[in-house]
């Protein structure tokens, strides 16, 4: 018997009060089948949620990490620019290095996206008319700020080994976070004012300064 005919026959039996008793067994079988199908569907939904929930959480983490990374990148570029400008205004390479480091740290101090900043100043060509290059790098702050603090302190977090000398020891434990936590680097070069003297030669310092 075709499925349609069986369904019509079943409906007719249900609507006939005399056949209700004969339909009891069929109803019981259908209820069991429905219950079995419902249990199966529930298991499938649980399995889907088990698979999808981590994916959704990972996507949310990626969104936050990318945002922090972009902000950290813009910050280090700005810090490098300010540091190079500050260094170019100095008269000696030592002062240039000092000024660049100070300016970079001032700029990075108020930014919550950067952690473990480092500043490198190239003063090999520091002379009137030369150039000074500043490289500023920092790590985007990890998703869990506790990890960042622990990375600096060298303590343990949730059973993970943390390298106290390098905060990235925290994120090395996870490939995804490691990829998103790569250092952001900003490089800027400024031209040293050609009218600035490294040393006052043959001229009174006050005359040079004024």
């Amino acid at each position: 018997m075709a499925l349609t005919e069986r369904f019509i026959d079943y409906v007719v039996r249900l609507t006939d009060p005399g056949d209700r008793a004969q339909c009891g067994a069929m109803l019981n079988r259908r209820a069991g089948w429905r219950r079995w199908r419902s249990d199966d569907a529930g298991a499938a939904e649980v399995a889907a949620m088990v698979v999808l929930a981590p994916v959704i959480v990972a996507v949310a983490i990626v969104i936050i990490a990318v945002g922090r990374g972009v902000d950290a990148g813009a910050t280090v570029r700005s810090a490098a620019f300010a540091a190079a400008q500050s260094a170019a205004l100095e008269r000696t390479p030592a002062d240039a290095v000092h000024a660049a480091e100070r300016m970079a740290h001032i700029t990075l101090a108020g930014n919550p996206s950067c952690s473990a900043p480092s500043v490198a100043v190239d003063v090999l060509d520091f002379r009137p008319g030369g150039s000074v290059t500043v490289v500023v790098s920092c790590l985007p702050r990890p998703i869990t700020s506790e990890a960042a603090v622990a990375g600096v302190d060298g303590t343990r977090v949730e059973g993970m080994r943390v390298d106290g000398a390098h905060p990235r020891g925290v994120v090395h434990e996870s490939g995804l976070v490691d990829a998103l936590g790569s250092p952001r680097v900003g490089v800027a070069t400024a031209v040293v004012d050609r009218f600035r003297y490294a040393e006052p030669v043959g001229v009174s310092p006050q005359v040079v300064g004024q």
Partner: protein
């Protein structure tokens, strides 16, 4: 059941992504404006005392940032800041904070930009 649970989560994720992009755009725009005006002040084109008003006016005109708070700190490069020679130029630090409208009505996302620039000018040789 899955659709009932997943659809809101997917919508929340999409909203988060769009909100992050908008927040990043607002931060980049405000950073650019702050940097431009800060450099003008550092070069002497505008008085440092007027920098706050100029910044607030430009941010209000060109961005959607509201509740703007500008904190300006001027360091004149004195010896007390640990400078080796005492002749380093001073610097201006601008800390701008505010909030931009969020995608979800009645919500706002905080924006903060910190920029610094050296004050240019002739200084006497020590």
């Amino acid at each position: 059941m899955s659709a009932v649970l997943l659809l809101p989560l997917v919508l929340v994720l999409c909203t988060m992504g769009l909100q992050a992009a908008l927040w990043n755009h607002a931060t980049a725009s405000s950073r650019t404006i702050v940097r431009q005006e800060l450099l003008r002040a550092a070069h002497g084109a505008i008085p440092v005392g007027e920098l706050g008003d100029v910044l607030i006016r430009r941010l209000e005109q060109q961005t959607d940032i509201g509740a703007i708070h500008v904190d300006i700190r001027v360091d004149d490069g004195a010896v007390s800041d640990g400078d080796a020679s005492g002749t380093s130029p001073g610097h201006v630090t601008v800390d701008v904070s505010g909030s931009v409208p969020g995608l979800v009505p009645l919500t706002r996302a905080p924006v903060r930009v910190v920029e610094a620039a050296p004050i240019e000018g002739w200084r006497p040789w020590p």
